[in-house]
Symmetry: C2
Subunit: 308 residues, 2 copies
């Protein structure tokens, strides 16, 4: 049997068909066209599913389920996207619509949760029952896997791990709270921290630059910019402090880091491991998890959705 | 059938027999006599079990299991108390010893986890599948229930919720880290905060007092001491900030507050609820749990152990 996964993004809808080993056997995509009536967007999504099936030479009767990873707040039990601001979706009963169209069970979860699940079926965490994926990007996303399944809590509203406090009453966070982990540990925060530090250091290649990416900060450090390196060092501590909280609270077997900056690999993972060993409950005798970079890239969303 | 629960404390070992409704039908206890050879302590524990059975008029063949709640780090899977400093226990295979003695399955968990489980079978959280119990005492203890069972993570070392960060690099914590929730939100922290504030206010009934209890702080506030009340207000925010993190990460249906200060009831719960509603992800639309005081007192340990 096969499974269908849909990664619903703000810009594109990516659809894939996976086999029993969660290998992608075909893909198709279409523009999301956000903020149209949701019925139109779901119709385009269904057309992309048909296309992916056709590309795979697979019929719908050979598929056991269809899964959707959506941004925003998803009620997995009800199969409803409760709120996805960047799509303009509010209380969209997407699972019912997909089941009506294709006649197979449809399942739904948040995209961050799907990415975590994908790593357990086909990525860096295969065979791992309890793990957490932290995605460092514009924000800090979280996906929690407990006993091999996504854990999202009441009305699937948990796993907002970026919105746990790091510095009470600290930096403003996009969520309205102050001092969230995300406000210190996201790629966006790294850039903000680097710009602020470089403004004080006219020798820095980042000095006075309007547009700075997270990658630029690492390149500047490579070029010998001590300011950039010290920002990176401190940022790694911010990330690791939140990871230490996860170790102390959930004691997962593994923590994976995703997002563009995870491509920096050992350069950021090594200092984070040291911080965790030093600061977690019980220190070196503590519940030290394996800390690795996530393995799946853009396909994580599709594969995780298919695995729902 | 009946079940046996043992609450192993630093001073006393309390044993109880519960019926199928988790009502205590008999109890017995003995001094722990910590730091003796563990074989002696387990022998005394077994004698207390016999006594409790005798008091209940129940034979061991009518009991389906025996459970132990222990302080320190417990490996529930292996049935071994890994480290309990206040008992002097290191790698004690207590479950095997109990099973050898009584011929029925023996189970083990941390005392904070047992207290949480007890509330779900016979306390304030009956019927609740996902909940967290926070005990505010000398420290801040945590017990996490997911899908009706204790969640403790790898080698049962998680749920150390008091040791998640509230203020990065803040107050020293007993665990060696700085800025843990426990260092701000425990009853001990409330007392420290009240003493520091009262030192600056000669009109406070707490001014210059050597020994201050958490209860004294509430009494002072009742007597009109504004300093004490403002310390309580701020302390409620410290507690609630950590509860908000739990809402955002685990989205439990219910959070229970245990420990002596929980007897203050609505006086502390009401401001905490307001803080959570204001600060949690999604605000009033967020995953607001029910926040209540724990119901079971001293028997929680026995009942939870029996329910393992």
């Amino acid at each position: 049997m096969y499974r269908i996964g849909i990664d619903l993004g703000g810009t594109n809808i990516a659809v894939g068909v996976v086999n029993e080993r969660y290998e992608l056997v075909s893909q198709a995509s279409c523009p999301t066209g956000a903020f149209r009536p949701y019925e139109e967007m779901v119709a385009d999504m269904c057309a992309a599913v048909e296309k992916a099936l056709e590309n795979a030479g697979v019929s719908i009767s050979q598929c056991e389920s269809i899964g959707l990873g959506s941004p925003g707040t998803c009620d997995s039990e009800a199969g409803v996207v409760v709120r996805a601001y960047n799509l303009g979706w509010f209380n969209v009963p997407v699972c019912q619509m997909l089941t009506n169209r294709f006649g197979i069970p449809a399942r739904l979860s948040n995209d961050a949760n799907c990415a975590a699940l994908a790593e357990t079926v086909a990525g860096a965490a295969v065979g791992c029952k309890n793990m957490v994926l932290i995605t460092l990007g514009t924000g800090v996303g979280g996906g929690i896997i407990i006993d091999g399944s996504i854990y999202a809590g009441m009305r699937s509203m948990g796993a907002e791990l970026g919105h746990t406090v790091l510095v009470l009453d600290g930096e403003d966070c996009t969520c309205g709270r102050k001092g969230c982990w995300e406000a210190y540990a996201s790629a966006t925060a790294l850039i903000r921290q680097a710009k602020a530090a470089a403004a004080q250091d006219s020798a820095s290649p980042l000095h006075g630059k309007e547009r700075v990416s997270a990658y630029d900060v690492f390149v500047a450090a490579d070029a010998g910019c001590k300011t950039a390196q010290s920002v990176i060092d401190r940022w790694c501590e911010y990330v690791a402090a939140g990871l230490t909280d996860l170790v102390n609270s959930l004691a997962p077997e593994m923590i994976l880091i995703g997002g563009g900056v995870s491509r920096q690999g050992e350069r950021i993972l090594q200092p984070m491991r040291q911080y965790i060993e030093k600061n977690c409950f019980g220190g070196k005798e503590g519940a030290i998890p394996r800390l690795l970079a996530a393995k799946l890239g853009n396909e994580a969303g599709i594969i995780g959705a298919a695995a729902l």
